[in-house]
C-alpha cells in the first residue's frame, strides 16, 4: 500500500475531523473501517479555521514551540499506531502557524507510542509574512478597496494545493502536516500520489476536489448539521459515522460511512454538503483546478452509499487566495436574565438603561442588544420546566454586545451589565460577561510564481 508508485486500485479516503472543534473520538471508527476494507487508504483531519491561524500565530509569539492545533495530539493518540501499522497515511492541516513544531510534537507522541521509525512530512511555504509576495497582493473581489498595512499583519497565509502533500506521501511520509492549504487538497493530495494523475488532468482533479469538498466538513455529509425533527430525521446523532470516499482511478466518487455508526448518507445529505460554502457552482476555485458541479448527478446506489458523477474541471487559477489577519479591536459582551411577572418590561428597561449608560460614559464603539429566551434561570437542573413551558411566565435573557477599538471601552461596557445587579431593574440574575480580542481577516490574490512550497521529511533520528 505504498504511495511511492502509481496504482489503479480503488483508493479510500476517510475524514476524521471537519473543523477545529470537532468530536475528538470521531477518527476511530473511520480508521477501523478503512483497515477492515483492506485496500489502499488515507485519513484526512481538517482542523484549521480562518481565525484559528491568526490565534495560533499570536500564541507562537509567546511560546515559540506552540502555534499548531492544540487538539492535534488528542486526535492522533488513539489512531496513530493503527494507521502506521496498516499503511494508512494521515494528512492534516493541524500545523496551523507552526507545521514544524506540530511535527516535533507528533514525533514525541510516536516515541511515547513505541513508533520510533515514524516519518512525518512537513509542508511549508504558505506563510508569506516577510516575503516579497506580501508586497504583490491584489484585493480579492469581496474585499475590493482593502489597503494593507504590512506592519500590522498578524498572519498572512496562502492557500496551497495538493502537490506538496502528494510529494510528501511519495517520499514515504506516514503523517503529512500542513499549515494553510485548500481543504479539498487534504484528500486530493493522496489521490495524486496514489493514481499518478497529471497536474492538468482537469476532469479527474475536479472529481477528486469534489470528493475532498464533500469530506472536508466531516459529518456534515453523513447527517451532521442536517437534522430537523419530523422533517429530516437522523438516527444516532451521538455516534455519527464520519465519511469515507471511495475513489476510482477514472475519477469515480462514492461517499459512504462506517457500518454500525449513526447518521445517514443519501441524496439530501450529499446535496447539502455539495453546495456548502459555494459561490458560482460552475466555478469553484481551488489552487489545483476550477471545479464545475453544474452537471453533477447523484445516485443512491445502496443504503448509505451515494455515487456522484459529472464533475468537470477547468485550468487551475494563476493567482492563489491569501488570507491576511489584522488586529480587529475588542468585543465586550454581557448577559443578564429576568424571569416571571413583567420580565419583558424589566429586561427592556435594563437594555435602555445600558444604552443610556454607554452614552453617559462616552464609550467609543458600536452596541447591540438581543433578548433571548425560553428558559434561562427558573428551571431545575433536570430541565423539567422546559417540558411544561406552555403557560409559564417569561424567562428572558438580555444580551449586550459592544465592539470597540479600545480594550478599556469594551471592558467597561461589559462591566455595565454586571452593574445592573445593584443598579438595574428588579430581579436580574445570572450575569456573565466576556471580553474578546478580535481578529479581522481580508482576502487577497497572489501570483502563483511568487510562492515556493517546501516539503521536509522528519523522523526521531533527525530530532535526536
Amino acid at each position: 500500500m505504498a504511495f511511492n508508485r502509481p496504482s489503479s486500485a480503488l483508493l479510500r479516503i476517510g475524514c476524521g475531523s471537519g473543523f477545529s472543534g470537532d468530536r475528538l473520538d470521531a477518527p476511530g471508527p473511520v480508521v477501523e473501517a478503512l483497515i477492515a476494507a483492506g485496500g489502499p487508504a488515507a485519513l484526512m483531519l481538517e482542523v484549521l479555521g480562518e481565525r484559528t491561524l491568526a490565534l495560533a500565530q499570536r500564541e507562537r509569539l509567546h511560546r515559540p514551540e506552540a502555534g499548531f492545533e492544540p487538539a492535534l495530539l488528542d486526535l492522533l493518540r488513539p489512531i496513530l499506531a493503527r494507521c502506521a501499522a496498516h499503511g494508512i497515511p494521515i494528512v492534516t492541516n493541524g500545523g496551523a502557524a507552526n507545521p514544524r513544531g506540530a511535527a516535533q510534537a507528533v514525533l514525541g507522541l510516536a516515541r511515547e507510542l513505541g513508533l520510533p521509525e515514524l516519518r512525518v512530512g512537513v509542508v511549508e511555504g504558505d506563510d508569506i509574512r516577510g516575503t516579497d509576495a506580501l508586497a504583490d497582493l491584489d484585493p480579492w473581489e469581496g474585499d475590493a478597496g482593502a489597503v494593507l498595512e504590512p506592519e500590522k499583519v498578524v498572519a498572512a497565509n496562502v492557500y496551497l494545493g495538493a502537490a506538496p502533500i502528494a510529494e510528501a506521501l511519495r517520499r514515504g511520509a506516514q503523517v503529512v502536516i500542513t499549515g494553510r492549504c485548500s481543504d479539498p487538497a487534504l484528500a486530493l493530495g493522496p489521490m495524486l500520489a496514489h493514481f499518478g494523475w497529471a497536474e492538468d488532468d482537469w476532469d479527474r482533479l475536479a472529481a477528486g476536489t469534489m470528493a475532498g469538498h464533500l469530506l472536508e466538513c466531516g459529518a456534515q455529509v453523513t447527517g451532521g448539521y442536517f437534522a430537523d425533527p419530523g422533517v429530516k430525521d437522523v438516527p444516532g446523532m451521538a455516534t455519527l459515522g464520519f465519511p469515507i470516499a471511495e475513489i476510482g482511478a477514472d475519477g469515480g466518487v462514492l461517499i459512504t460511512k462506517p457500518e454500525d455508526t449513526g447518521g445517514r448518507v443519501d441524496r439530501q445529505t450529499v446535496t447539502e454538503q455539495l453546495l456548502y460554502e459555494l459561490h458560482d457552482p460552475a466555478a469553484y476555485l481551488t489552487p489545483d483546478v476550477v471545479l464545475d458541479i453544474t452537471g453533477v448527478a447523484i445516485t443512491e446506489e445502496a443504503p448509505d452509499r451515494v455515487r456522484l458523477t459529472g464533475a468537470r474541471g477547468g485550468s487551475r487559477p494563476e493567482r492563489l487566495k491569501a488570507t491576511v489577519s489584522l488586529p480587529g479591536g475588542w468585543l465586550g459582551e454581557g448577559e443578564i436574565s429576568y424571569a416571571g411577572p413583567n420580565a419583558r418590561a424589566r429586561a427592556e428597561l435594563a437594555g435602555r438603561t445600558l444604552l443610556e449608560r454607554l452614552k453617559l460614559l462616552g464609550l467609543e464603539g458600536q452596541a447591540r442588544l438581543d433578548l433571548i429566551g425560553v428558559v434561562s434561570v427558573f428551571d431545575g437542573d433536570a430541565g423539567a420546566l422546559r417540558e411544561a413551558d406552555a403557560g409559564q411566565p417569561a424567562d428572558l435573557r438580555l444580551r449586550l454586545a459592544f465592539a470597540s477599538e479600545s480594550r478599556a471601552a469594551a471592558e467597561r461596557a461589559a462591566r455595565e451589565v454586571l452593574s445592573l445587579y445593584c443598579c438595574g431593574p428588579a430581579g436580574g440574575g445570572g450575569v456573565r460577561t466576556r471580553v474578546t480580542d478580535r481578529i479581522r481577516t481580508l482576502s487577497f490574490l497572489v501570483p502563483r510564481e511568487r510562492l515556493a512550497p517546501r516539503v521536509t521529511l522528519l523522523s526521531l533520528e533527525d530530532a535526536a
Binding site: V231, L275, Y276, E277, D280, G328, A401, T441
Partner: protein, 114 residues
C-alpha cells in the same frame, strides 16, 4: 363578512414544507443552498423564491445584492447574498457571526403553492 369561504387554487405554505437549506459564509458574503424535497417542486421554487424576494427578506440586515444560481439537475438553487453578515464572523456584534442560522430565516419565507 362573507359566510362563504374564499375559493382559491393556490395556498400559502412555508418554504420549510417544500425545501431544505444550509448556510455557508465567506467574509461578509453568505451562501444559502435551497433544495427541493421533491424534484417536481423545483419549478415552483424557481417561480416563488426570486432574487428580489430574498433580497427583501434580508434587507433589515443590510444585504445589498442577491445572485441566484440554478441547479435543476440537483433540484436545487444557490443564493449568494452580499453584505448580510454585519461584518462577518470577525466583525459582527451578532451572536451568530457566521450567519449559520440564516438558512432557517430563508425557510420561514411563505410561498404560494399550487
Amino acid at each position: 363578512m362573507s359566510a362563504v369561504p374564499l375559493q382559491s387554487t393556490s395556498r400559502s405554505v412555508p418554504l420549510h414544507r417544500l425545501a431544505h437549506a444550509r448556510a455557508g459564509d465567506k467574509g461578509n458574503r453568505l451562501n444559502l443552498s435551497l433544495i427541493a424535497h421533491r424534484a417536481e417542486d423545483w419549478p415552483l421554487l424557481a417561480r416563488e423564491v426570486t432574487e428580489a424576494r430574498v433580497l427583501a427578506l434580508f434587507a433589515h440586515r443590510g444585504a445589498t445584492a442577491v445572485r441566484r444560481y440554478e441547479l435543476p439537475a440537483l433540484g436545487a438553487f444557490n443564493f449568494v447574498i452580499e453584505d448580510v453578515l454585519q461584518g462577518g464572523v470577525n466583525g459582527a456584534l451578532n451572536l451568530d457571526g457566521h450567519g449559520k442560522s440564516l438558512s432557517f430565516l430563508l425557510l420561514g419565507m411563505t410561498v404560494e403553492a399550487g
